[in-house]
Subunit: 198 residues, 2 copies
DNA sequence: GTCTATAGGCTGATAGAC
DNA sequence: GTCTATCAGCCTATAGAC
């Protein structure tokens, strides 16, 4: 009995996801240029030919993953804003979520691919456009309003909010890297980072 | 009149340095794998053949640069220890030096190549050995004694010194990346970072 | 849908002329 | 010391069998 249309569509999505997850793993450790399609295929447990059946090119896969990572970076901030409590409480909550996510899982891989995508020149044009486009909501920009709110209720020090946002995000990105450099490295409590706002 | 032996040696060193500086520029923006020898040659203003006259391979150039970067990372900490004042004053002085160095010059390029070398799997074996060898003095390890000193004179909070060192270094690395992502990004004062020690 | 075989292009590295 | 021409190997992407 042949597969139904719906089953085929499900299989298709499943395979695509399988390849994307494998690609995320390899890209985040080796970078876009050094990653070979054969490595992605091997990680996903299928032939390299099949990868090209589901995706047009290596660049397409990379770009897709970067878009996802960018979305998820902004999402966590949006989630924080919906949280109960004062602005600083929201930031603390978010920091806890992020630090926890860094400890395990693929959350850290999304961070790493974002760092690679935004710091390397050796990425597809589409990715470069993504970051330079005016619509692009950078995590720093998303964070600024929350910081200003905190300043208005005297919870956060009266310092240039952009400077504070950049510093905060630098911390987060720095930790992702530290974790990669030294997998067992101790993770600080959210309070330690929050100090920069006081 | 032919060149003397000494002039030849000078020329040789000069050319090597010229190539190394060009390579640092390209590597730090494109990574080890995505960098082509022809790009290094072009940046240095000479033919690709000549690069191979001075260096055995692309990997050799990359490894050399990483070694330099590793040395310079530790050097700044050593310099700080020789400074006058209390431990926290020394750390503050060092932070000012680093933040200033990030603003311009090739100091930031050394940071970036260190980050690449220590976070990517796509680097020469020698580089991987460098970081995993027991003799390797990581910046975090070099910083710990200074932090402990500060704790002993009640200048620094009684928190796991390794955790503090990791956090400090995470910030520094994170900031290098932020600078690359957004060249005009505001630079915080050293005091803002020092807060994590209080 | 999935695989294997292979074309085509690019790049690291070398050889040899000047 | 410096350059240009060239080789050899690898990797992306495709074609075609099952």
């Amino acid at each position: 009995m042949p597969r139904t249309e719906i089953q085929n569509l499900e299989l298709r999505d499943q395979r695509r996801e399988q390849i994307l997850i494998a690609a995320l793993k390899v890209f985040s450790r080796r970078g876009m240029a050094a990653t070979k399609i054969s490595e992605i295929a091997k990680e996903a447990g299928l032939s390299h030919g099949l990868v090209y059946h589901y995706f047009k090119s290596k660049e397409e896969i990379f770009t897709l993953l970067v878009q996802r990572a960018a979305e998820s970076a902004v999402q966590i901030i949006e989630k924080a804003r919906l949280q109960e409590g004062t602005p600083l409480k929201k930031i603390k909550w978010m920091t806890e979520q992020i630090l926890q996510g860094l400890s395990a899982g693929e959350q850290i891989l999304l961070f790493l691919i974002m760092i690679q995508a935004s710091t390397s020149d050796a990425v597809p044009e589409e990715v470069q456009h993504l970051f330079s486009s005016p619509e692009y909501k950078s995590p720093v920009n998303c964070l600024v309003p929350l910081i200003i709110e905190g300043q208005q209720c005297n919870e956060i020090i009266k310092e240039d909010p952009i400077k504070l946002a950049v510093s905060y995000y630098a911390f987060i990105q720095g930790f992702s890297i530290s974790k990669l450099q030294w997998n067992q490295c101790p993770i600080p409590e959210a309070d330690l980072i929050i100090k920069i706002f006081k």
